[in-house]
């Protein structure tokens, strides 16, 4: 058995110790230091997609996503500088402009991670023009619906479907601003042959993009904490 090495570093001027295989985000959390995240979810592979967990590292002008950056000996990390705060606010504002997030009439109103993030990063206004894309709602599935208007492309649904359920029904089509979530080979969800209707995608979705069809406005409450337990129990069985 190889020996796990311990690294020492500074996060926000605090001396912390970490295992060499840990990410900055993990170490920060272990030490009670909060870094905002969106696409990251315990139990799924980290992606570094949403860029909310960016941190500053002394000696580098580049901002690095803490969820996929491994710790290094002697690192000096800042998690909450003015520059980072500004970037995070802009990122959240851009999420709101890119699609049609109408909180007041959304199934996830008051139970939405994007809404909470907006509060957390101190977003008071949106300083970019809204794009108002014309997007559809796929309500063909018996129990669930996918509203592209509310999707932030965090891909948690894609990862949980692939990594945990093993169905890989969901995926992303297109690039950049044109990207969107598809089911199977882009047939409607109700006609998907691979979907097991397990509902994990709905529960990991941070917004009202994936929801249960019988829910009215502000009624959709997601269960996101089950994944680590699920993985742990499966591991134990094996």
């Amino acid at each position: 058995m190889s020996k796990v090495r311990i690294k020492t570093l500074k996060i926000d001027d605090r001396d912390v110790g970490a295992r060499e295989d840990q990410t900055i985000l993990e170490v920060a959390r272990d030490n009670g230091i909060h870094i905002p995240t969106l696409c990251q979810l315990d139990g799924l592979t980290n992606l570094g997609g949403c860029r909310l967990c960016l941190v500053e590292i002394k000696g580098s002008n580049k901002l690095l996503p803490s969820c996929v950056t491994a710790v290094e000996e002697g690192m000096e990390v800042s998690t909450n500088t003015e520059r980072l705060q500004k970037h995070r606010r802009s990122i959240v504002e851009l999420f709101f402009t890119e699609r049609n997030h109408v909180c007041a009439v959304c199934v996830s109103n008051n139970n939405c991670e994007l809404q909470n993030l907006a509060k957390q990063v101190g977003m008071t206004h949106v300083h970019f023009p809204y794009m108002y894309p014309a997007l559809s709602v796929d309500a063909t599935h018996d129990r669930f619906a996918l509203d592209h208007n509310r999707c932030v492309l965090c891909t948690r649904c894609v990862r949980v479907c692939d990594e945990i359920e093993g169905a890989h029904t969901l995926d992303v089509r297109g690039r950049g601003i044109e990207a969107y979530i598809i089911t199977d080979l882009e047939q409607v969800w109700g006609e998907s042959e691979t979907c097991t209707s397990c509902g994990k995608c709905v529960n990991v979705c941070p917004t009202g993009a994936l929801f249960e069809k019988n829910k009215s406005v502000a009624e959709m409450k997601k269960q996101t904490k089950f994944l680590p337990y699920l993985t742990m129990m499966r591991g134990a069985r094996r």
Partner: protein
């Protein structure tokens, strides 16, 4: 030389409006237009949305009467689900709509209109407001505040918030209510009853002072429309549509809400964003009808509660047929507050409303749904069509104020012909033209499905189209 007067914006109403008066060569009013200058487009923006969002989206049409919008949309959605919703849910929706009738009517009568009754139509605009009422007759102002608070607190307690709650949903309501919460309001009933009765008595004494206004504020023949129950009593939540003419005779009865399109059509004029609904069998514009408190009391044969029925008899006794002057919208509004309080007492003591079964679950079983309720300002119609997955394909909304559009235009003309003379505008003239609009308590932001501020303007334009005088208020 012909002239036009324009009042832009109209004040102490909900939304943006403008009035144009066209004068002939002798300086007398030839024609009058009430323009609604705002546009919202709810019928379009619901396209492609899941039907279960409709109640909450419709509630956003209005901050004053969101409960009526919630209820009409929820009723339409019930039809899409194809279910009869649990009895407790029906009663809770009724209770909420009544609470809203009280608060909205109190807003119009006490906050917006009573300054005209207490200070007079010719008083200076700076004193003609609720603060003026507080100084001159503080009891009335306090009663108004108490009544509005009573209605608003019922809504807040059960639906979670006063403005734009989302508690009323497709299939019923979200959560059952608690006994202690309803008891809290039942205790207040004697006080609010006293307040409204006191004001009805006061208002009846004031009526003779407004003889001219009663004669000219839309005192005209028209049809009246409203919902009534099987006994032809007032019904704000359910029932059948009934049309009566100026003699009080029913011309259309027991019309199922789903058949509204057989009886109501909408006409479009290019000078306003508000459409003109009319009674189809009589054509446009002969099919002009009025809705709201005055219409409901003309359409019903009785209210259905003890105290309100006594007032109803006196009210209808003012005329052999239907009560025709739109000035009496105010009077009718007070009677409806009385009725709503009595009805809340009855519902509040009904054990059904405490039952836990308040929601029916179902999928999409119909491709179409129609929901009609009586909003404070009149009959409100929501009509949706969905695809097999419940996605909205089409929507038609006939909002209470819209129904009164023809009548409001006709009333403005009548008032202007009587009060506006020559080419010089006075404040008293202007206020009467506005006051007739206020009598209808229009909610323009609602009815156009509004963007911008809420001020009122009158313009005087000559026959060549030049503005020769203008009065502005903001």
């Amino acid at each position: 030389m012909n002239k036009t007067i324009s009042i832009d914006p109209v004040t102490r109403i909900e939304g943006h409006g403008k009035i144009t008066l066209h004068l002939n060569d002798d300086g007398a009013v030839d024609n009058a237009y009430f323009h609604v200058t705002q546009f919202r487009g709810f019928e379009k923006l619901i396209d492609g949305r899941p039907f279960r969002e409709m109640p909450a989206i419709m509630a956003r049409i209005c901050g004053i009467c969101p409960i009526s919008h919630l209820s009409a949309a929820a009723k339409a959605c019930d039809q899409i689900l194809g279910v009869g919703i649990p009895k407790p849910a029906v009663k809770l929706r009724r209770l909420m709509n009544l609470a809203q009738i009280i608060q909205s009517h109190a807003l119009n009568f006490f906050y917006l209109s009573s300054p005209d009754f207490i200070m007079g139509m010719d008083a200076e605009p700076e004193t003609r407001n609720l603060m003026g009422v507080l100084k001159k007759n503080s009891q009335i102002a306090h009663d108004g505040i108490m009544l509005r608070k009573f209605g608003q607190e019922i809504i807040e307690t059960f639906a979670g918030k006063r403005i734009h709650p989302d508690w009323i949903i497709a299939g019923g309501v979200k959560t059952p209510i608690k006994k202690e919460n309803i008891d809290k309001f039942l205790k207040q009933i004697p006080d609010v009853l006293k307040a409204v009765t006191r004001n009805i008595e006061w208002f009846k004494i004031q009526l003779p002072k407004f003889k001219d206004e009663i004669k000219t504020f839309g005192s005209m023949q028209s049809l009246f429309m409203g919902l009534v129950n099987d006994n032809n009593e007032l019904d704000f939540y359910d029932g059948k549509l009934r049309f009566v003419d100026h003699t009080g005779k029913a011309v259309g009865e027991k019309i199922h809400p789903n058949d509204y399109r057989t009886y109501i059509d909408e006409h479009v004029e290019e000078w306003t964003y508000l459409k003109f609904p009319y009674y189809k069998p009589r054509g446009y514009p002969e099919g002009m009808y009025r809705v709201g408190p005055l219409a409901r009391l003309n359409v019903a044969e009785r209210c259905g509660t003890e105290l309100a029925d006594k007032e109803f008899i006196e009210f209808r006794g003012m005329s052999r047929g239907a009560v025709l002057s739109s000035f009496h919208y105010h009077y009718a509004r007070l009677i409806e507050i009385l009725y709503a309080i009595e009805k809340i007492e009855i519902l509040g003591n009904d054990p059904d409303i405490l039952q836990k079964n308040v929601r029916a679950e179902a999928g999409v079983n119909n491709s179409e749904g129609i929901g009609i309720v009586e909003a404070p300002r009149g009959t409100l119609i929501d009509h949706f069509k969905v695809d097999e997955n419940g996605i909205i394909q089409w929507g038609n909304l006939i909002i209470a104020t819209g129904n009164n559009n023809l009548a409001m235009n006709r009333s403005v003309l009548q008032v202007a012909k009587h009060f506006v003379k020559g080419d010089k505008l006075t404040n008293g003239m202007l206020n009467r033209v506005e006051a007739v609009i206020r009598a209808y308590d229009p909610c323009l932001s609602c009815s156009t499905h509004a963007i911008g501020k809420m001020p009122f303007q009158v313009e005087l334009v000559n026959s060549e189209g030049f503005v020769i005088d203008k009065l502005n208020r903001s």
